[in-house]
Symmetry: C2
Subunit: 302 residues, 2 copies
C-alpha cells in the first residue's frame, strides 16, 4: 500500500470574497499528498525552486509523505494567481508562471517504482505517461486528472495516456469537452471506450458522481455556511479518494463508494479556510465525524 | 388523508432539442395532481376555459383526482409557450396568455374545506392565502411554491402567506432571491424566520435539498440518458412529495426523507417524455423500482 502522485507543487496568490493571500503554498500534488496521507503512505514526485524553504516543506513533516521525489532546481517555484467571483462559481487566472516547472522531467526514485496506486495530477499527458513507464509492475489503480488545456492542445498524447488509466477524475465541463457529449451518462460511455473503467465527475457545490460499469453513485457536497477558498478542493478530493483506495486490500463496489465519501469529506474541509490552512490542523476523528455526517445527510429507508 | 392543490391548468407549447409540441395539456396543478394521485386522493382547484374538452379532462379519469373544484369559465384556458436551450438548463418564455386565469378567484367546494394537506402551486400569493382561509381546520401540512415574479412584485403579500406555510418548495435562485443570501444554509435560516419550518430546494439536474431544523437531506437527480422535456418537473416533484406525505399518518424525519425520494422519482419520470405523456402511462411498480434505484445510487457503508 503505497500511493504515488506526480503533479505541481506551487505558490499561489488567491483572492476570494472572504480575503486575499499574496503567497501561500499550493499545487495539486501538495493538496493531494496532505489529504491522502491521512489514509496511506504517499510518494511525492514534483519540482520546486530554491525559493522553497524548509518551512514550506514542513507541511509534509510528521505525515506519511515521502519527498525523496521532490526535485529541487535552480530558479523559482511554479506560481499561480487567481481571483474568484462573488459566488465563487467562477475564477479568473491572473498569472501562471511555470518557472522550474517548465523543464520538469519526472524521475521516480527506486522505491517509488513499485507503487501500487498512482495518481497523475493535472500536468502534460506526456509527462503523466513517462511516470507510468517508470513504474515496474502494472499498478492496481491508476487515476488521472486533466483539464481543457490538454484536451484541446494535446488530444493525441492524452488519448495515449488514457489507455493506461483506470479512473478518470475530472469536472462536468471537462467530461463534456472530452467526450463531445452533454449528457453525462453518454459522456461516460464514450470515455470508457478510451481506456478508463470508471469516471469520477467532480461537480463543486453539487457534489460528485461516480460512473462505472452500468452503475452510478452520487454524493452531494457537504453544505457549509462559509466557503473561504475553493482552491485545491478537487485535488484534495482526489487525495481522500485515492488515499482511501490505497489503504484497502481490494477495490470493489463498497470501497469505491467509500472512496467517494472520503474524497468529499476531505474536499469539504479544504475549502473551509485558505490554502492548506484547514488540512494542516485536521485530525482523524474530524474526518470520521464528517463521514458519518455524510451518511446522515443522505440515508433513507423505503 | 386528502390533499388539496390550487394552481394552473393550462395548455403549453414547448420546444426542446428533442422536439416541438404546439399544444398539450400542462399547468402546475395538472402535473401535481397526476403525480400525487399515485399516492393519495387529490382535490383539485383551478380554472379552465371552454376550449378544455372532455378529452383533456380524461387525464384525471380513473385516478384519485376530484375535479369538483375545477371551474369552467367562458373564454380560453391559460396558455404558455416556451423554448429550452440546447443543454436545457435555460428556457425562454415565448408567450403567456392568462385568459380565464386572469379572473380566477379560487373557491373550495364543501368537501375540500377539510383537506388535511395543502399545496399552493405557484400563483399570486393573495390567491394562495384566500385558499388557506377557506380551509376550516389548520391543515397538517401546508406547502407553497412561488417564483421571482411574486418575490419581486408582491413581497408583502408573499410574506403574509408564508406565515401560514410549513414547507416552502422553490429552486436555488428563488431561494437566494427571497433571502438575499447566496449561501443556501444561511438562506434557509433566513426563510425559517418568515414562517416555513422546512425548505425544499429544487436544483434540476443536481437533485434536491431539504433543510429543516438543523438538518439537511440531499438527493441527487436520477441520471437519465435522454431528457426530452423538463416542463412540469418541479410540480411533479411536489406532487410526489406531498402525495407521499399525505399518505402517511405522521410526518417525521423518515417520512420527509422518503417524500424527497418520491418527489425525485416522479420528477425523473416526468422529463422522460413531452408534457404528461410519461406520467399518463406510469405504473406503481415502476415508481417502486425507481425508488429502489435511488437507494442503490446513494447508499454506502462506512
Amino acid at each position: 500500500m503505497s500511493l504515488l502522485v506526480v503533479g505541481s507543487v506551487a505558490f499561489d496568490a488567491v483572492e476570494t470574497p472572504h480575503g486575499k493571500v499574496d503567497r501561500m503554498l499550493g499545487g495539486a500534488a501538495t493538496y493531494f499528498s496532505v489529504a491522502a496521507s491521512f489514509f496511506t503512505h504517499v510518494n511525492l514526485v514534483g519540482i520546486v525552486g530554491n525559493d522553497f524553504t524548509e518551512k514550506d516543506a514542513s507541511i509534509f513533516k510528521g505525515r506519511k509523505v515521502d519527498t525523496l521525489g521532490l526535485e529541487r532546481a535552480d530558479g523559482k517555484t511554479f506560481f499561480w494567481a487567481g481571483k474568484y467571483s462573488e459566488n465563487m462559481n467562477e475564477r479568473t487566472t491572473l498569472a501562471t508562471e511555470l518557472n522550474v516547472f517548465a523543464e520538469f522531467k519526472p524521475r521516480l526514485p527506486g522505491p517509488y517504482q513499485s507503487s501500487e496506486h498512482v495518481f497523475l495530477a493535472n500536468i502534460d499527458p506526456t509527462l503523466q505517461r513517462s511516470v507510468l513507464r517508470q513504474v515496474k509492475k502494472r499498478p492496481k489503480v491508476v487515476a488521472l486528472d486533466t483539464m481543457n488545456y490538454w484536451i484541446e492542445r494535446t488530444p493525441k498524447e492524452l488519448r495515449e495516456t488514457l489507455l493506461h488509466t483506470d479512473i478518470l477524475m475530472i469536472n462536468d465541463s471537462e467530461t463534456r469537452q472530452l467526450s463531445n457529449e452533454h449528457n453525462l451518462l453518454r459522456a461516460a460511455r464514450h470515455i470508457f471506450t478510451l481506456g478508463p473503467k470508471a469516471l469520477v465527475i467532480k461537480r463543486g457545490e453539487y457534489g460528485a458522481m461516480l460512473v462505472y460499469k452500468n452503475r452510478t453513485f452520487q454524493v452531494p457536497a457537504f453544505p457549509l455556511e462559509q466557503v473561504h477558498d475553493p482552491t485545491g478542493a478537487g485535488d484534495t478530493f482526489a487525495g481522500g479518494f485515492m488515499g482511501y483506495l490505497s489503504s484497502v486490500p481490494r477495490v470493489g463496489d463498497a470501497e469505491l463508494r467509500r472512496a467517494m465519501i472520503y474524497g468529499s469529506v476531505m474536499g469539504s474541509f479544504a475549502v473551509e479556510k485558505f490554502g492548506l490552512e484547514r488540512l494542516r490542523t485536521l485530525k482523524r476523528p474530524e474526518i470520521k465525524a464528517r463521514a458519518k455526517h455524510f451518511h446522515k445527510m443522505t440515508r433513507f429507508e423505503l
